[in-house]
């Protein structure tokens, strides 16, 4: 057997992004916390639904990764575009998707954003510029290049941000997309959420480089690794990348190093990692970290933080009630929905 490249179990995290000129307003910082809690609450509810045997299909939870979703999307404008992954609940909520329509879609209801046709792994919310989660790893990267080209051709000021995991950087679609975006200087922001494992395979067993942002050099674009559990680090990195993109300077690759607390999907016995490792990362909870920062900066009090948390769980409970009451997706004429 070939010797694998030796990496440390958890890669060192480099925080390279300097604070950008446009720091988020006080209100925005609070919204960021609210969205992080909404994501956490949504994922925990999803888990409960599965445990209760009420879930049809699979789910991919992003508990522990809330900062990369919220930090990245807080740095964009509402009309900017998003492509997400199979682990996309957090991205959708961070982009502004209403939790009612997301929960209803998760349960396959007619009131879901995609009327139960997509489910959460094939979710689309065009009204919010959300062009889709994706069941194909790296599948959305070439799509993002197309949107970038389209923005450039139409001389609009938008950018498109595409999330993908550490597994995607070893797929051909990643390389084709990175090359084309850089070649044509398109307003694309590539955000790799390096949560250390592609399903069960650790980065060191799948990737020839340890620092995934290093791949950017091959395509002559800036590559940046940030602490993906630090919502402001992600925010500033994406803000910078968006600024470059809007000036016509082209794409960037941002690697947000983070960790998923739960398994890959619903039935994952975690055979490939230790409980100690998971517990160590739980201590780096991105939400607690952001709360502490908001309190330390005098933006919120302990009580206010707690209120935001409680409201998020209430909103998700209400979303669940809404989804449960909603009619099952049904149609006698599904063939009529295939073509525009």
């Amino acid at each position: 057997m070939m010797n694998a490249v030796t990496h440390k179990a958890t890669a060192p995290v480099l925080v390279l992004a300097p604070p950008s000129e446009a720091s988020p307003s006080r209100e925005k910082r609070i919204v960021m916390l609210r969205r992080m809690w909404l994501i956490r609450a949504f994922e925990e509810k999803a888990e409960q639904i599965f445990a209760a045997g009420k879930l049809h299909g699979t789910m991919h939870l992003c508990i522990g990764q809330e900062a990369s979703a919220v930090g990245a999307l807080a740095a964009l404008e509402d009309d900017d575009y998003l492509f997400s992954t199979h682990r996309g609940h957090g991205h959708s909520i961070a982009k502004g998707t209403d939790v009612n329509t997301l929960m209803a879609e998760f349960l396959g209801k007619e009131t879901g954003c995609c009327r139960g046709r997509g489910g959460s792994m094939h979710f689309v919310d065009l009204r919010h510029g959300h062009l889709g989660t994706n069941g194909i790893v790296a599948g959305s990267l070439p799509l993002a290049v197309g949107v970038g080209l389209s923005i450039k051709m139409q001389q609009r000021r938008q950018v498109v941000l595409v999330f993908f995991g550490d597994g995607a950087v070893n797929n051909g679609a990643f390389h084709e997309a990175m090359n084309m975006a850089a070649l044509w200087r398109l307003p694309v922001i590539f955000v790799c959420e390096n949560n250390q494992y592609a399903y069960s395979t650790p980065v060191r067993k799948a990737s020839s480089v340890e620092r995934l942002s290093g791949r950017a050099a091959a395509y002559n674009m800036p590559g940046l690794t940030v602490d993906g559990n630090d919502v402001m680090a992600v925010y500033h990195a994406v803000r910078q990348a968006a600024g470059r993109a809007r000036q016509g300077l082209g794409p960037s690759l941002i690697e947000a190093v983070t960790y998923r607390w739960r398994g890959h999907s619903k039935n994952d016995p975690n055979r490939y990692r230790t409980t100690e490792e998971i517990e160590r990362w739980k201590e780096k909870c991105p939400i607690k970290r952001w709360q502490a920062r908001l309190i330390a900066d005098g933006i919120m009090s302990e009580a206010e933080v707690e209120q935001v948390r409680a409201e998020a769980y209430q909103a998700v409970e209400a979303a669940y009630a809404y989804a449960e009451m909603s009619p099952e997706a049904c149609s006698d004429r599904l063939e009529g929905e295939v073509y525009a």
């Binding site: 575009y81 879901g112 954003c113 995609c114 009327r115 139960g116 046709r117 997509g118 094939h122 689309v124 919310d125 065009l126 009204r127 062009l131 889709g132 994706n134 069941g135 194909i136 599948g139 959305s140 990267l141 070439p142 799509l143 993002a144 290049v145 197309g146 949107v147 970038g148 080209l149 389209s150 923005i151 051709m153 139409q154 051909g172 679609a173 084709e176 997309a177 090359n179 084309m180 070649l183 929905e337 295939v338 073509y339 525009a340």
Partner: protein, 331 residues
Amino acid sequence: MREITYAEAIREALRQEMQRDSRVFVIGEDVGVYGGSNGVTMGLIDEFGPERIVDAPISEGGIAGVITGAALSGMRPVGEIMFMDFMTQASDQIVNQAAKLRFRSGGQGSVPCVLRTPAGSGAGQGVQQSQSLENWFVHIPGLKVVMPSTPYDAKGLLVAAIRDDNPVIFVEHKLLYKTKGPVPEDLYMIPLGQAEIKRPGRDLTIIATSIMVQRSLDAAQMLAAEGIDAEVVDPRTLKPLDEACLIASASKTGRVLIVHEAPRTGGFGGEVAGVIAGSSAFYHLKAPIVRLAGRDIPIPFNKTLERRAVPQIEDIVAEARRLMWHDISEF
């Protein structure tokens, strides 16, 4: 009417649609100054510039993804894949992304794009540059598949494909590019899903696609000399398929010969046979439905072997005769 080639007809459709609609653009390998591997886009870059005639790297998945993403965000792109064999490289983007978006989003969005590509053997291109893979795409809900056989159809169908709000796979044929035919200078559209009876006849129906249409017409002429009056039907669009036209023709003649270049097993002929056998035409059939298709082999390089891999005019004549004068034990 003036006569132009199949390649010129496609180019004219592209040019006129690009003049009409600024959202239309072309992207593919070597489509710019070189004019595309088959010369279809020759000169378009002079009129529209490199911003709208986009030379792409050799990234077929990228090209297919780019047209899908661009279509999703307001453009109406036309991609070119140099050989249909290379569609394998692009298939994730076509099959999993472009074809699914409309349905999976619950009708929120659409993907108005065209992917043009030449299929077919006969040019000595060997196993990896000669295939006819249309039926793979016919199989995918969400895609439309067009296969023009004449310059006139090529122009009208491409215009319709560009204006269609769905992803359309537009399958050209290498050997047809230089064939000439009458084509109006004005813009016109041939609706997708409309077959055409290329030659009316009473005795048997030959349903043929792409280059097999002309071969079937040539065969029909030879058969006429023997007193066999063949009707030649070109579906033109494989999906959506004009089932009514095929069923009507089969019902009229009672004998059906299906001709295509792709290998028989899993080919489009099976679908056509199924449509006819499952319809009221069944009660009019005087003989089994016969499929004359490419052999179940890769396309060989050697010229003679290559020719024998797919139906030729004489094969069509022979099958038609067998269908007319058959003994039941022959089937």
